[in-house]
């Protein structure tokens, strides 16, 4: 006997799959259409697969450089966020110091602050410090959200590790740094991998700072470049679709690895 609930839940899941996948399908086929096909009307199946939309922007225009910048930026962001993040997370999780809860809250507010709020101050600050239009400037600014994120997520993971493990190490005469390297980091490996991937993706996705604080192919990442492309006078939608597909690739790969941890990470460790 098939129960009513089972049928309705199957239908729901089916509809949801269509709802989720159709826009992605549309994006992908748009990326294969010619310019005239796109503006000509609604076509559900392209006549042929047109790869020029991928080739031209990436290899004949500056978007290849933007893609490279995105990779450099995201990887560097992971490198700059993880070490201080691990240390601070340990401090918040295990040690007591003055006003620690205040600082923890303060970190989170930085993560939550609407980035639109500080555009102008950042512009002024960055031009004065000569950080404008540089990759390292963008790396620093992205850490305002990513470092608090790392701290909160890693703190949750460290909280879950029994303290006895560390205490045993200290009894064996380990210094703090030895303990960190030989005991804690190996235990935290999966947690670090997860937060690294998330930091990578958040940086990859960031648009507002990227589009305003960088300008040249030497520093601008793909999201910023894409926004600039969209605000141009004459737009080739199929190339925008192609670049969007390119921007999605690392993210969709990451989803495959991260699916189990998304809930934990995006709720700052509240749900696990």
């Amino acid at each position: 006997m098939v129960s009513w609930e089972k049928v309705s839940s199957r239908i729901l899941v089916g509809l949801m799959l269509i709802f989720i996948l159709f826009p992605l399908y549309w994006l992908i086929i748009t990326s294969f259409k010619t310019r005239l096909e796109v503006i000509g009307g609604v076509v559900f199946l392209p006549h042929k697969l047109n790869l020029i939309n991928y080739y031209r922007p990436l290899f004949e225009d500056v978007y290849g450089a933007y893609l490279r910048n995105s990779f450099i930026l995201s990887i560097a962001e992971v490198a700059i966020c993880l070490p201080p993040g691990i240390l601070a997370a340990y401090a918040f999780s295990r040690l007591k110091f003055k006003a620690d809860n205040h600082f923890l809250f303060w970190f989170l507010t930085n993560r939550m602050a609407p980035p639109a709020a500080f555009l102008i101050p950042y512009w002024v600050l960055y031009t004065y410090l000569n950080l404008f239009d540089t990759l390292h400037g963008l790396i620093i600014i992205n850490s305002i959200g990513n470092l608090p994120f790392t701290i909160w997520v890693l703190k949750g993971f460290i909280d879950a590790i029994p303290r006895e493990v560390e205490e045993a190490a200290y009894i064996d005469g380990y210094t703090f740094w030895q303990m960190l390297r030989r005991i804690l980091l190996p235990l935290l490996k999966p947690a670090i991998a997860v937060s690294a991937l998330f930091v990578f993706i958040f940086t990859w996705n960031e648009m507002l700072f990227a589009s305003l604080l960088t300008t040249s192919p030497a520093a601008m990442p793909l999201t910023g470049g894409l926004l600039h492309y969209m605000s141009q006078i004459w737009v080739n939608w199929s190339e925008i679709a192609a670049l969007s597909v390119v921007a999605n690739i690392p993210v969709i790969i990451a989803i495959y690895f991260l699916q189990k941890h998304i809930a934990t990470a995006l709720t700052f460790g509240a749900v696990r």
Binding site: G40, H102, F105, T109, V124, F132, H228, Q232, W234, V235
Partner: protein
């Protein structure tokens, strides 16, 4: 979750208190840095910067001002003979010698003309001079925002910036760009032998009141009426139109004719009768469209086809004596003509393809290229795209004509429309003003100008415009060259009035108010009234010497 992450009420209160203290500190800092000081800083830094610009090497060569111009007249042959071209190239190699290996950074709008400069002229320059170019091509609004930020703070990011002539009024008011005439007098050795200000026909809108050049124009695109010649010339359509409306189907002179034609050709979903240049989205473009096309062609603003000494700014309807846009103080933005302009805009919008209210120029030009509309008043920048069969269905099937006007309110000697004159200006804080000057000359150098005109249908030099070499292209681009070769027609397309000094904030008022008429919140009459009122308030806020 362990207990350590919790935040109690005291923590919360302390955080808020800290934040309030932060604001107080900020306020105190604000109090101490007096506005006068800031102004002084900007002025002094301008002065010091511009003197250092001219210092190196200026005194060594003694040349009579104006000598450079006399020299140029003899060589302005376009295209240059091979020998002359070689001589010019030699000149370029020599003059850029001191900067070899340097880089210049150009901020520009992402238009087809700039792609051409990036892809064709830029590499040529790099090969000739060994100076690399970093391009930053972005949207209109961002260009404005970024260059103002750069110039106000004096950061000196951009060697040279490219934008619409709209900003020249701002440069006059703020003195933020380098006076090119002065630079030419002080450094005559930097003036290309082929550079001739007298040969640039649209220079009038790029100078300050003394006639000094602030921007070297690089493109001239009037906003013209563009129509589907295949439809207009089809005998069947002609007959049907004549029997329905009683007059011949031809490019219209008046907006009511445009209305008839739009009605006649609206055959959804494949063909629509009308689209405007900038769509009707609540976006800056809506403001452009009004003071570029609708207000001037409906006679808002005073007479006068020369850029200066106008009491009432055409298109903008602002009285420059009282600095008011209201009729009771001599302005014209709430006049009947303005109401009529808004009315025409809304009436014709009904014949545009659905979706128009979410679009700006990008999508509107797409509609024309997709062959979905019969007639439009649009930027001629798009003509080279329309003429390219790879991306357009109307290649060879369109023509241009003078824009229509309102039968009642427009009178002769009032401007009809807008010419998009854009060019290069050198920020006062430019790291290499000389290079900026050289690049802006190179763009319109005889070496490049004719080729440029051929591929992107624009030129700023009379000698090139008149060149018979452009004749074969005339038909391809719908007759655009014939039209602007006529000196009188040329005069009827004006740039943004040079008295408009704070383009961006005023533009914001224009489009936010007009968007209310588009969405139906206000009737055209109410909208015009509110627009005039808001413009007045903004002018006062921006510190204009208002007399009302």
């Amino acid at each position: 979750m362990s207990g350590e992450g919790k935040v109690n009420r005291r923590t919360w209160l302390q955080t808020v208190a800290a934040a309030i203290a932060g604001i107080a500190v900020g306020a105190a800092v604000g109090w101490y840095s007096k506005p006068a000081k800031v102004l002084e800083k900007i002025i002094t830094s301008t002065v010091t910067k511009s003197t250092t610009v001219t210092a190196p090497g200026a005194a060594t060569t003694v040349t009579v001002p104006g000598a450079a111009t006399t020299v140029t007249k003899t060589v302005t042959t376009v295209p240059p003979t091979p020998a002359m071209a070689e001589k010019l190239r030699e000149w370029w190699r020599k003059v850029t010698e001191p900067w070899r290996g340097k880089r210049i950074k150009i901020l520009a709008q992402a238009w087809e003309p700039n792609y051409y400069l990036r892809d064709v002229v830029g590499p040529k320059w790099e090969k000739l001079t060994g100076i690399k170019i970093d391009w930053e091509l972005t949207s209109n609004e961002l260009v404005m925002e970024k260059e103002i930020m750069d110039m106000e703070k004096g950061t000196g990011i951009y060697t040279v910036t490219y934008d619409d002539q709209d900003m020249v009024g701002t440069w006059i008011r703020k003195k933020w760009v380098i006076d090119i005439t002065k630079l030419m007098e002080e450094r005559p050795e930097l003036v290309e032998p082929g550079f001739d200000p007298n040969d640039i026909f649209c220079l009038d809108y790029c100078v300050d009141p003394r006639g000094h050049i602030l921007t070297i124009p690089a493109e001239y695109y009037p906003k013209t009426y563009v129509y589907r010649s295949d439809l207009f010339e089809s005998p069947d359509e002609k007959k049907a139109f004549k029997s329905k409306y009683g007059y011949d189907l031809e490019p219209p002179r008046y907006w009511d004719q445009v209305h008839d034609i739009a009605e006649f050709f609206t055959r959804p979903p494949d063909l629509y009768g009308w689209i405007n240049a900038c769509g009707a989205k609540a976006h800056e473009a809506l403001g452009f469209d009004f003071f570029e096309t609708w207000f001037p062609s409906c006679g808002v603003g005073g007479e006068g086809l020369s850029p200066y000494n106008r009491k009432l700014l055409p298109g903008w309807g602002i009285n420059t004596e009282t600095w008011s846009a209201r009729t009771e103080y001599g302005g014209a933005l709430d006049s009947e003509a303005a109401v009529k302009a808004i009315d025409w805009f809304l009436k014709l919008l009904k014949f545009a393809p659905p979706g128009i209210k979410g679009w700006i120029y990008v999508e509107c030009a797409e509609q024309v290229a997709a062959g979905r509309v019969t007639q439009t008043v649009t930027y001629t920048q798009f003509l080279s795209t329309f003429a390219n069969p790879k991306v357009s269905k109307i290649a060879g099937k369109f023509k241009v004509a003078m824009p229509p006007v309102d039968r009642e309110y427009w009178t002769p000697f009032k401007p009809i429309g807008y010419a998009d004159i854009s060019g290069y200006c050198i920020p006062w804080c430019s790291p290499n003003p000389e290079l900026g000057f050289l690049w802006s000359q190179f763009v319109i150098s005889p070496l490049n100008e004719l080729d440029r005109a051929k591929s992107i249908n624009t030129t700023v030099r009379t000698s090139v415009l008149m060149s018979p070499e452009l004749d074969p292209l005339n038909a391809k681009f719908g007759g655009i060259f014939t039209m602007i070769r006529d000196p009188i027609a040329q005069k009827y397309f004006i740039g943004t009035p040079l008295e408009v000094g704070d383009y961006a904030p005023l533009l914001y008022v224009f489009y936010t108010e007009l968007a209310k008429a588009v969405s139906g919140e206000l009737t055209p009459k109410e909208c015009a009234k509110e627009l005039a009122k808001e413009i007045d308030a903004k002018l006062k806020e921006l510190g204009y010497p208002v007399k009302w």
